[in-house]
C-alpha cells in the first residue's frame, strides 16, 4: 500500500543501565527492538537483496552485542549501530567481489543494465521499484550517504560519524550523489 508513514516515538535510553549481565541483556534487547527494522531496511537498500540484508543485519547485531561496552552514551547510539552496519555491509560487498566478480557492487559501470525484463515491467511498474532501481545503479558511497540523509534523515554531521568522513567531505559527497540520483531517476522517467 502506501509508503507514507507516521513516525513512532523512540524508546528510552539504551546504555544507562547498571552494569551486570542482566543489564547488558536488557540494553541489547532494547537496542535490537529499536534498531533492527531501520538497520535491516538501510542494509537492504544498500545491497538490494533481502537475504543478503538479513545476513548483514544479523552480523551487525552480533558485533554490536560484543562491542556494547564500547558504546559511550545514548546520544551516539544511532551513529554507532549504523557505523557497524555500514562496515559489515562494505566487508560483505568486498567479499562478494572477491568470490563473484559478476556481482561487483563497486564496478557499477560494468554491470548489465538492471532495468526489468517483461515480467518485472508488468508486476514491478510501481514508482517505488523504479526509485529502488535508480538507487541500485549509484556508486555504493553515493547510495550510502543518500540513504542515510534522505531515508534515515541524518544530518551531514551524523553521516560523517557513520561513514568516517569530515563534515565538508559529506556535503560534497552528498551533492554528487544527488546529481547522480537525479540522472538515474530521469532514466526511470521520474523527475526533471
Amino acid at each position: 500500500m502506501q509508503s507514507m508513514v507516521w513516525p513512532q516515538r523512540l524508546a528510552g535510553p539504551l546504555v544507562n543501565a547498571p552494569s551486570g549481565d542482566a543489564a547488558r541483556e536488557a540494553s541489547f534487547e532494547r537496542l535490537f527492538a529499536q534498531f533492527s527494522e531501520p538497520i535491516y531496511n538501510y542494509v537492504r537498500r544498500m545491497v538490494g537483496d533481502a537475504d543478503r540484508a538479513a545476513d548483514i543485519t544479523q552480523d551487525t547485531f552480533i558485533k554490536a552485542y560484543r562491542k556494547l561496552d564500547t558504546l559511550a552514551d545514548d546520544a551516539s547510539t544511532r551513529s554507532w549501530i549504523y557505523r557497524i552496519a555500514t562496515n559489515t555491509a562494505i566487508d560483505e560487498i568486498r567479499r562478494r567481489r572477491f568470490v563473484s566478480p559478476m556481482g561487483d557492487d563497486e564496478r557499477h559501470e560494468q554491470r548489465p543494465d538492471p532495468r526489468p525484463g517483461p515480467e518485472d515491467q508488468v508486476l514491478g511498474a510501481s514508482i517505488d521499484e523504479r526509485i529502488q532501481r535508480a538507487l541500485a545503479r549509484l556508486r555504493p558511497n553515493h547510495r550510502q550517504c543518500l540513504i542515510l540523509s534522505d531515508v534515515d534523515d541524518m544530518s551531514a554531521t551524523q553521516i560523517g560519524e557513520v561513514m568516517g568522513m569530515s563534515y565538508g567531505a559529506v556535503r560534497t559527497l552528498l551533492c554528487r550523489a544527488r546529481g547522480e540520483m537525479r540522472r538515474e531517476l530521469q532514466r526511470e522517467g521520474i523527475g526533471t
Partner: protein
Amino acid sequence: MKRFDSHPDELISASLTGDLTDVERRELQAHLSTCQVCRETLEAFSQQRQLLAGLPVRAVPRDLGPRVRTGIDSGRFGAPWWRRPGGLLAGAASLATVAAAALLAAFFLTGGLKNPQVAASVPPSTSAVATRSPSVTSSPAETPEPTPTQAPLPLGMRPGDLVYPALSGPIDTPQFTIDNNRNGQRLAVSPPSGQPIAASLSPDGQWLAYIYLRGLSGANEVAAVHLSDGSVVDLGATEGTAPFSDRLAWSPDGRYLAFTKAPFDMAKGQNTDPHGPGSTEVYLFDTTTQATSQISSSGNAYAAGWSPIADGRETLWISLAAQNPQSWAIRFPLSEPLKAVETGELAARADGVFLPLISPDGKRAIFWRGTMKQSGGWSFITSGLPYLTSSSSGGIPSFTSAEPLFSDITITGQSDSFATGDFGWGADSNTLAFWNGLWSGNHQPTGYPDQQVVYVGKATDSSLLTARSGIDLGLKATDRIAGVALSPGGTQAAITVGHATPGDLASPSSTLLVVDLATRKSHEVAAGSTPAWNGPGGYFSPTGAQ
C-alpha cells in the same frame, strides 16, 4: 553578497538537511532569486528527497532475532552469505520451521475441507472514549433535507453528509477526529499510529471502519469506531503490501463488516496465516456483539461485498485469488451470524470472477476478470480488466454477459492488463468510479489509463468509462489516491489525495477534495489546517452504497 562562479549545487544540497550557516543561507536565497537553473535543481533535489523518504519500510525477517541470539550464544558469527542457509543450528532451525509449517498446512487443509473450522471469535478490545465538540469548519454538502428518523444519528448526520477521519497536530501529540463536513460536528477519537488509508461508513451511520498505517512497521491495522460514543474496536493487524485487501464492506443493514486481512504478528514481524507470506483471509465483524470471526481458512480469500438482503438472509460475496480466480456468494439467515464460510449456504459460484462489487439495488456488478499471479500478494498478470454486468431483475447477477468497464481501451494482447485497481458505486446504483488502476500493458494514446486519474461514469451510459471520464487532479508523481466516495445523488465525488512524507519526522498530509461531477470543479474540505491528514471520506447513505 557573494557571486558564485558556478551553480552552487552543494549549498542547494545542504539546504535540504539544514546544514547551511546563516551566511550561506542568505547567499543561496539571493542567488536563487536570480537563477532559474538553480531553482530547478532545488526542486529536483527536494522531489528526490521526498521520493526516497517515501520508500516502503520492510518488516524484518521473522527469524532474525533467533539467528542473532544463536550467533551470540554460540560465539560465532552467522552464516556467511555464500554458505546460506548456514551452519548446523541455522539449518536445523530452518528444517524445523518448514516441518512445522507443513504440519500446520496439512492440519488446516484436511480439517478445513472435511470439518468446517469453528472460527475463532476474538473478543473486542476497545480504547478511548471520546468527547463530542462542535467544530468551526464547515463547507457546503449535498442533500440538505433531513429524512424522518426514529432517533438522532451520530454527528447530527443526514443522508448525503460527508463524514471523514481527520488526523492533525504535532507528531508527538496528534489529534484524531471523525468530522461531519456539513454541520462541522466532530467526534474526538483515540489517535491511531498512522494515517487512515481506507475508510467506509456503515449504511446505518453508526460505525466508521478504517485501515491505518501501523507506524513504521510496514503493517496496517483495521479498526472500527462507534460513532455514538467514540469507542474504537481493534480488528487486528494486516500485512501492508497485499493488493486488493483494503475493501471494507458493510452489510446492507450495517450489522456486519466484511474485510480482508493478511494476518500479521507485530512481535514476530510475519504473516501468521499457515499458508505463508501474502496469504489472506476474510473476517466478519458483528456490530451487535462487537466480536470478530475469521470465516475463511484457504489462504487466498478476499472480502468482495454484499448483495441486498432477501428472504430474511444476508448474501456475502467472497473471492478466491488464483491463476483463474473464483467468487462465491454465501447466504446466511439474519438471525444466525455466519461462523465460517462452510456453514453458510452456497448461493452462487462464479468462475473467472474476482472481487465483484454489487450495486446497492443488486441489479449491477463491477468485477475483475483476468489471470492472477502471487508475488507477495495476488495481482493480475495478464488480461486483468474490470467489467460491468447488469440485470433488470436483481438477485444474483449473471457474469457471462458483461461488458468491459472501459469501452475505449484497445486490447492488443494478453499483456494489456491492469495489475490492480479500485472501483466503487454511488447509492443511486448508476454512478460508478474507478481509480488507482495500475496499468501494465501497452499505453494507449495520451498515456491513458492513468493511475493518478479518477474515472467516473454512469452504468446507463453506453460508453461506460472512457478517457474522457477522467478527473485529472494534476497530482504530483509522489501523490497517491487514498480513497474515492460518490455522493448518493451521483453529483459529487470526495477524493482523498495523500502526499509523500518528507522524512520520518514529518507529519503526514493529505487533501480531501469534493469534486462537482457536472462541472469538474473542486473545493478542498477542511482547508487551512496544515499539516493534516483528512479522509478518506464516506457519504452517509442509508441505502447502502459501498
